[in-house]
């Protein structure tokens, strides 16, 4: 288990992170420059925190309580670290790269061979890094880090430079290796899809501060703040004021429009931030009767943009609110291509839509 509780003054902000990682995959997620890489540097020993402690399976790697400092140097931390640009040794073959971290030269060859097979790199032992594809280089870097049999594996943007099938097969391999070797894995990403791909838990970091840590699904479904909602790509983030609150539900005044939401312990007059997922913005067929789920929160908007991706379509709807009559609010609706076609819409058309009442989610105040 990795335990991190550190503080470090950086140029623009103070990095302050506290988290633990069991035999699982933790995703360190946040925009560029949020302090993700610096956190890694502190864990591996490439940078020194101002104070705090870092422990791995009970072993103190760093501890500074303001009076005494205890610090294990980089080369004695025994942490598997896969650098963002792979950092393979260009003057060594694949086999030499793999066995670099092995002190006992006698079984280095055999173990390198086994690792090559495990990572589907058979036949590449005598190649040099510049003769490999990006995906192969990434696998060698991963294998090299695993050869020292670390308890902790750190991956810095491991999938950023890879695409499609290469990315997916590597993700599957990392997931398998994590289970087989019972590894603690932490990886950095700023890409939503990569965060979902193989993480168990998510730590959202912004400007050096941990915003939320929890199981991935939970963080995505229940962001605890506007910041986390924005970073995790939540659409249709809206602001309003509670105009009445009862056991039946909440009534929110949203810039002059009335929105009904599920019951919540909020007081009348309280400002609220809420969102509705694009899946819950339902475009209405003019000639069909309304299903009960979409009878509330009906509005009219104008189609401003349509983006098709595979079998799904994202429709952007512009609508005026009294608080911003000129600058239109834009909502996103996400629906199957088939349903979109049936509506017979095009850009500029006017359309009725409903914000599903149960889909209105309030952020914690």
């Amino acid at each position: 288990m990795l335990e991190v509780d550190i503080e470090k003054q950086l140029e623009d902000f103070t990095l302050r992170v506290t988290f633990q990682v069991d035999r699982e995959v933790l995703v360190l997620f946040g925009p560029s420059g949020a302090g993700k890489s610096m956190t890694f540097s502190c864990i591996t020993g490439l940078a020194r925190p101002d104070r705090g402690m870092i422990r791995l399976d009970g072993r103190v790697l760093f501890e500074d309580d303001g009076r005494n400092r205890q610090e294990v140097p980089l080369h004695k931390r025994h942490i598997g670290y896969v650098f963002q640009n792979y950092a393979l040794f260009p003057h060594m073959t694949v086999a030499q790269n793999l066995s670099y971290g092995i002190r006992d030269r006698r079984d280095a060859g055999g173990r390198a061979k086994a690792m090559l097979a495990r990572l589907h790199l058979d036949g590449l032992a005598d190649r040099y890094p510049h003769q490999l594809s990006g995906g192969q280089q990434q696998r060698v870097a991963l294998g090299r880090a695993l050869m020292i049999e670390p308890a902790l594996l750190l991956l810095d943007e491991p999938f950023a430079a890879l695409d499609g099938a290469v990315r997916e097969s590597l993700q599957a391999d990392i997931a398998d290796l994590q289970r087989e070797m019972a590894l603690s894995v932490v990886y950095i990403t700023h890409n939503l899809m990569d965060a979902f791909a193989l993480g168990d838990r998510l730590a959202v970091i912004q400007a050096g501060q941990l915003q939320q840590v929890g199981p991935i699904q939970e963080v995505f479904q229940h962001p605890n703040s506007r910041t986390v909602a924005e970073i995790t790509g939540v659409r249709n983030l809206l602001e309003g004021v509670v105009s009445s609150s009862s056991a039946e539900g909440l009534v929110i005044d949203w810039g002059g429009h009335t929105i009904l939401a599920p019951p919540a312990p909020r007081a009348r007059g309280e400002p609220v931030t809420f969102y509705v997922r694009p899946e819950d913005v339902k475009l209405l067929y003019p000639e069909r009767p309304l299903a009960p789920a979409v009878q509330h929160n009906r509005f009219t908007g104008r189609v401003s943009n349509v983006m098709a991706a595979g079998t799904w379509v994202t429709v952007r709807l512009g609508m005026a609110t009294s608080s911003s009559p000129d600058a239109k609010v834009t909502l996103e609706s996400h629906l199957p291509m088939r349903a979109y076609r049936a509506l017979g819409l095009e850009v500029g058309a006017t359309v009725d839509f409903s914000l599903r009442r149960d889909g209105i989610t309030l952020l914690p105040s």
Binding site: T44, P73, H75, R77, I79, Y81, F83, A87, P90, Y100
Partner: protein
């Protein structure tokens, strides 16, 4: 006379190169990876022999290494022996070795050194396994330049080692004597020989540097 001088020159230049390689690399490693106050002072000091008149360098060496000089630690006679010629060549060749190898070391991607460290190598092993092999062409170029410069050293050597035929007379000094004695055919032959060595060295350095550049491109 010429063969004695040639052999002595080769011996002096080789030993000086060895000395300069060790000292130059240590200083280059130290300066390439650290940033401290007074760094440029050290750099300037190491580079000084490049611009000082050789006679001035020779005079300093005479003072430092001579009887009672601060560097004459063992109290033995160094001045006016062939060892003094080695030291003179080394001091004059050091800036070339230092500049070439420091540039090559600075060009090594620090991430590779960090990676080696994270795989369990202590700093000295990182230098040995990663930094030096990747900087080897620049280091080799520095050695060739240092050797060529040492071979051609005249002024400082004359000051501190003298011009004793068969003992401290190196090839450049021998050429001077040949011309003084009006032995023009021998002087011609020696001059051509020295020019060939210098030309060959520079050609080799040029090739090394070009290959280092194309290798960088390939790795990038």
């Amino acid at each position: 006379m010429i063969w004695d001088a040639l052999l002595l020159s080769l011996r002096v230049a080789s030993l000086a190169t060895l000395l300069v390689t060790v000292v130059g690399l240590l200083i280059a490693l130290w300066l390439a990876r650290s940033d401290f106050r007074g760094r440029s002072l050290v750099e300037t000091l190491v580079s000084l022999p490049m611009v000082l008149p050789p006679s001035v360098v020779g005079y300093y060496l005479l003072r430092f290494l001579g009887r009672g000089g601060p560097l004459n630690i063992f109290g033995t006679q160094i001045v006016f022996t062939w060892l003094a010629a080695v030291i003179a060549s080394a001091v004059v060749a050091l800036p070339l070795m230092f500049h070439s190898s420091r540039a090559a070391i600075a060009a090594v991607d620090p991430t590779l050194e960090k990676a080696a460290g994270s795989l369990g190598s202590p700093p000295w092993k990182v230098v040995w396994d990663v930094t030096l092999p990747l900087a080897r062409r620049g280091i080799l170029a520095g050695m060739v330049l240092a050797f060529a410069r040492g071979l051609g050293e005249f002024g400082a050597t004359l000051m501190v080692a003298g011009n004793i035929p068969g003992r401290t007379q190196t090839l450049p000094l021998a050429i001077y004597d040949l011309v003084q004695a009006n032995r023009i055919p021998e002087a011609n032959a020696t001059v051509v020989l020295m020019t060939a060595v210098a030309f060959g060295s520079l050609l080799a350095v040029n090739r090394l540097e070009r290959r280092a550049r194309s290798r960088e491109k390939r790795y990038a």
